[in-house]
């Protein structure tokens, strides 16, 4: 009896959470010209079509580049910061932490608008550059948090031991700290990548002629056409995210870090 109730609750919850995702996969395979569910007939046509839409290709490349390089930049800033906040007794450490974590607290749409109005417009920075910086800032809190938590378990005396054996401080970091937080850094990269790739509100205002991230492009496409290609594309993107997360989980037990 208890068992039945448990599975009824979980079944309903999981259907609500995952069902819609299964529906899109099928909807994307509908052979109608408009969105229909259940599909009358099945075709993979829409799944192939999305690869031929020029704007999707361009915006996919942009989103990919933003996610990869934005996250790398965030790690470049975030790993040293996480290290310093963990190892050193810094004055105003709490403030530093808050400042670095701020991008997570402020709604993305506000950030996008603020950057457009007070950086892109007055300084003439390109929209692409602004997007890159915005995505870096967006990922930074995750980078600091995930890397911090994997550094927590790493005792400082290991580095001291390395130094006493002849390492410089930098060598001690590279040879002792980095190999031991590799999992955390990778997890931060994946989390950052997925966050950045799926991000909408920050990028909403930061778009110009020919410069659109993929999710924004999908929103725009949806407003004009009502064919199942967006469903197909959504399903493909979901598969991509899942593949990355599954690979990460297999390789390094990703979920420990999230």
């Amino acid at each position: 009896m208890r068992h039945l109730a448990t599975w009824a609750i979980l079944g309903l919850t999981l259907t609500f959470l995952i069902g819609p995702f299964l529906i899109i996969i099928l909807a994307g395979a509908s052979d109608t010209e408009y969105l229909a569910f259940p599909p009358q007939g099945l075709t993979l046509g829409w799944y192939f079509k999305v690869f031929t839409v020029e704007s999707f290709r361009a915006s996919f490349v942009l989103s990919m580049a933003l996610a990869v390089f934005g996250t790398l930049a965030a790690l470049l800033l975030g790993v040293p910061a996480a290290y310093a906040l963990n190892r050193y007794d810094l004055p105003g450490a709490e403030t530093l932490r808050t400042v670095v974590a701020a991008p997570i607290i402020v709604p993305g749409i506000i950030v996008g608008l603020a950057l457009l109005r007070y950086m892109v417009v007055p300084t003439g920075v390109t929209v692409t550059a602004a997007l890159f910086m915005a995505h870096t800032a967006l990922v930074l809190p995750y980078a600091v948090r995930v890397v911090s938590s994997s550094m927590n378990n790493l005792r400082a005396d290991m580095e001291e031991a390395a130094v006493l054996l002849g390492c410089t401080r930098l060598q001690a970091f590279l040879k002792v700290v980095l190999p031991n937080i590799r999992g955390g850094v990778l997890a931060a990269f994946i989390l950052g990548f997925v966050t950045s790739f799926n991000q909408v509100p920050v990028s909403l205002f930061l778009s110009g002629p020919g410069v659109r991230t993929l999710p924004i492009d999908m929103l725009a496409y949806m407003e004009i056409t009502f064919d199942p290609s967006v469903a197909a594309l959504s399903a493909l993107l979901a598969f991509m995210s899942l593949a990355i997360v599954f690979a990460a989980e297999r390789l390094l037990g990703f979920s420990r870090y999230v």
Binding site: A161, L164, L165, G166, C167, T168, P179, N180
Partner: protein
């Protein structure tokens, strides 16, 4: 052999209000096994870290083998340190841990291999090279940490509480091991401990520290038999320590007469130096426990609790029972005020 192989002069550690060690002078002989002993917060670990170069002194100098190394960075000082936590590199095998420092010196591969094998052999871990730290017991991890420091042939080897993380059996084993390694390599060793039994058993000389200063320095036999202060006496197991006034010992609770007027302002007795079963004084047994060769009593006396060991042949006195005892001047250790 130099009498001041390691020489600390006016070594001051910490700043302003948080001075942990004010102006410490200490000379350590070459090949000596020295214990820095004291309760937590006495400055022993801070001093050790300063010798290693992990902590910059605010004043004073550190000389090793006639060379001033006060400003030499830790990675160029040539000093080994075995951490209390061992601080092994978890991503490297035992072999790679031991070879770590040698590889940094860019020695020929063959020499690195040979010295690493030799190092593992010295600590009795031949054949364990491939294991990761997580796959080894605490005792084995500590041996790897020891080997890792030894293969660097350091001028001085520092050990932070080397036995505190081991269980009783391993502790004894490691103690003999450390002594053997020290005799074999002739290396100068300084180890930090809060356990007087460990210091007494292992060290050539003991530096007893208190609040950043040296309270007493001497051989284990010296310290054990002839502590000079109440602090040292307490640390060395003198559990009955009383002030004297004329021909009497006094405490907050009361006084007991002595046979004669003593010369020292403070007298101390170990429990086995207290006479039980006869004597001029009387008390009640507040606690009693059987300890094999003797019986340990806590006697509630006019002075307050007195701890005394009674020979096992003497009849047992039950809790609350009356017991006679004496604090003989002959077995007392006189201390400075």
């Amino acid at each position: 052999m130099s009498d001041a192989f390691v020489k600390l002069s006016g070594l001051t550690l910490g700043y302003g209000r948080t001075v942990a060690v004010p102006a410490l002078d200490l000379s350590i002989r070459e090949g000596e096994l020295i214990a820095l002993l004291g309760p937590s917060g006495c400055g022993k670990t801070t001093t050790m870290r300063a010798i290693a170069g992990l902590l910059d002194p605010s004043d004073g100098t550190i000389e090793i083998d006639g060379r001033d190394v006060t400003r030499v960075p830790a990675n160029k000082r040539g000093i080994g340190l075995v951490f209390q936590s061992y601080a092994l590199f978890p991503h490297l095998s035992a072999h790679e841990n031991v070879a770590f420092g040698l590889r940094l010196q860019k020695l020929p591969a063959e020499e690195i291999r040979a010295r690493t094998e030799e190092g593992l052999a010295t600590v009795g871990l031949t054949g364990f090279g491939k294991r990761k730290p997580a796959e080894m017991s605490g005792g084995q991890q500590q041996r790897v940490a020891l080997a890792r420091s030894l293969v660097m042939r350091p001028k001085v080897l520092l050990l932070d509480e080397p036995l505190s993380n081991l269980d009783a059996r391993l502790r004894l084993e490691m103690r003999t091991e450390l002594q053997r390694v020290q005799k074999e390599t002739g290396i100068t060793m300084v180890f930090v401990t809060h356990d007087q039994a460990e210091a007494l058993a292992l060290a050539d000389r003991i530096v007893l520290m208190r609040e950043g200063r040296i309270e007493q320095l001497g051989t284990p036999a010296d310290l054990y038999a002839r502590p000079e202060t109440a602090f040292a006496a307490e640390f060395m197991g003198f559990e009955n320590i009383f002030r004297t006034e004329g021909a009497a010992v006094v405490s907050d609770k009361g006084r007991l007469p002595l046979a004669a007027v003593p010369q020292s302002p403070i007298l101390a007795w170990r429990p086995d130096a207290v006479t039980v079963g006869e004597g001029p004084h009387e008390g009640r047994v507040a606690a009693a426990s059987f300890a094999g060769a003797h019986r340990e009593y806590v006697i509630d006396s006019a002075l307050g609790p007195v701890k005394a060991d009674a020979a096992i042949e003497l009849p047992e006195v039950p809790l609350g029972g009356t017991i006679r005892f004496d604090l003989p001047l002959a077995t007392a250790r006189g201390l400075a005020a």
